[in-house]
């Protein structure tokens, strides 16, 4: 039974005992658990989900990747292209905003956006709120969040030196960025 493909609206028979937590792709109506996606229901930890590989819009706590498209003294505008590891179709990017107070966890009042991001940088962040009508609010205030790819003025891709600096391998010049520390280090 467990490997059967479910269709939207189809009721899911649950084993006796405590009801599992319902994850994505399932809903409960009138005491009956039903599927809302085409797929196979599986347990992920303690919750029952129908996993989807298709892209979905960002939600709070989604890990997103995006490109910096515009900078202003108060915020950096990001074009989100990957949500929770799933790339969005071309041309269907979402807009995100990193405000100065969301760049890093400490010394928030000393943040200068120009010393943290540049246009074209690829940034890893976490969505903190759905934001306003135009954009999602993103934070990089964590060690593993920040710029993960950037090109220098000379056009070479730079290597991180510290959490606030990157070096250009061509000219050896140091540029300021809020770098992400890779989780494996």
């Amino acid at each position: 039974m467990a490997s059967d493909i479910l269709l939207p609206g189809q009721s899911v028979s649950l084993p006796r005992g405590p009801a599992p937590k319902l994850g994505g792709g399932l809903y409960s109506k009138d005491g009956q658990v039903r599927a809302s996606l085409v797929g196979v229901a599986q347990y992920e930890g303690s919750s029952l989900v129908i996993s989807r590989v298709r892209s979905h819009p960002p939600a709070a706590n989604s890990v997103v990747l995006g490109t910096v498209t515009r900078l202003s003294p108060l915020q950096a505008i990001i074009s989100i292209s990957v949500v929770d590891g799933v790339p969005l179709p071309a041309g269907e990017e979402f807009n995100g905003v990193i405000r100065t107070q969301d760049v890093r966890a400490t010394e928030k009042d000393k943040v200068k956006i120009g010393d943290c991001f540049r246009g074209g940088d690829v940034v890893k962040g976490v969505v903190i709120s759905l934001g306003d009508a135009r954009s999602y609010y993103i934070t990089t205030a964590r060690n593993d969040l920040g710029v993960i790819f950037a090109t220098s003025e000379a056009g070479a891709s730079m290597d991180p030196v510290s959490w606030q600096e990157m070096r250009c391998p061509k000219t050896g010049r140091i540029e300021k960025r809020k770098c992400a520390k890779p989780e494996t280090l």
């Binding site: 809903y27 797929g39 989807r52 298709r54 759905l130």
Partner: protein, 257 residues
């Protein structure tokens, strides 16, 4: 869109065009209005999900002379500037110029829009829009061949629901839809254009058979209360059969991928 009557990028056909007239046309018309199937039977349905590769999800439906392609894009960020907690569903219907007996100018008119509104109505309550804040889901329906507005709305809703399921958009259930026409005192299900023209009233019912709930009823023309209730009952019964067609096509498509 007012200027697109003189759209220079298109090859504009003559303003007025007529189908050729043949000698046996009258006889032909008589044949057309005569139904070849029982009043309670519907035209055979061919349904294929995932035909348009660049769309998030798509479906193609064919019921004899009604041919409809449907593509679903999104959820993408809403272009409107107002914040909305729920997602928006946007349904656009287009006729191909060769879809009707008379040539159709490639412009949006009142008919596309009313079909779009009916299809929107039929499927909107099946989608869990509360899961898509600030987003829009776009459904584009192209009517390749048209054989009656009622059939177009019913098949269009069916194709749209299949395409949404194919796109992996969370729904409460699959929508099935069926139309009926009153000809004389009879109820004829799934009328073609000629049959609908000969009828005194029509009814389109859309429902989610899995949840046993109705999403929309659209009635036009003249119909007694008793007959319209009977129509709904018959349509609802037929929708359960149609639902199994949708389910089968989605399962087959899923297994083949």
């Amino acid at each position: 869109m007012a200027q697109s009557a003189n759209d220079r990028r298109r090859i504009n056909g003559p303003e007025e065009s007529f189908p050729p007239v043949f000698d046996d046309d009258d006889e032909d018309m008589k044949l057309k209005t005569q139904r070849s199937r029982a009043p309670g039977d519907i035209r055979p349905i061919f349904l294929q999900p995932g035909l348009i590769s660049q769309a998030n999800g798509s479906a193609y439906i064919e019921t004899e002379k009604t041919k409809i392609a449907c593509a679903v894009y999104g959820p993408r960020q809403s272009k409107t500037t107002t914040y909305s907690e729920k997602g928006r569903l946007n349904v656009e219907v287009k006729f191909t110029p060769f879809s009707c007996t008379r040539r159709r100018a490639p412009m949006r008119d009142a008919e596309d829009r009313s079909i779009g509104v009916s299809i929107h109505q039929a499927i909107v309550s099946s989608i869990r829009l509360e899961l898509f804040p600030k987003s829009t889901i776009d459904v584009f329906i192209t009517i390749i061949e048209n054989d009656g507005i009622e059939g177009c709305i019913a098949s269009g809703s069916l194709a749209a629901s299949t395409a949404l399921a194919d796109a992996g958009i969370e729904m409460l259930g699959l929508v099935a839809s069926c139309s009926a026409a009153i000809v004389g005192d009879d109820i004829q299900l799934d009328p073609s254009e000629a049959e609908a023209r000969a009828s005194s009233g029509t009814l389109i019912l859309a429902c989610m058979p899995a949840l046993d709930s109705i999403t929309s009823i659209w009635q036009s023309g003249q119909m007694s209360a008793e007959l319209s209730l009977k129509c709904m009952e018959q349509c609802h019964e037929r929708c359960i059969d149609i639902h199994s067609i949708v389910a089968q096509s989605l399962l087959e498509h899923r297994r083949s991928n």
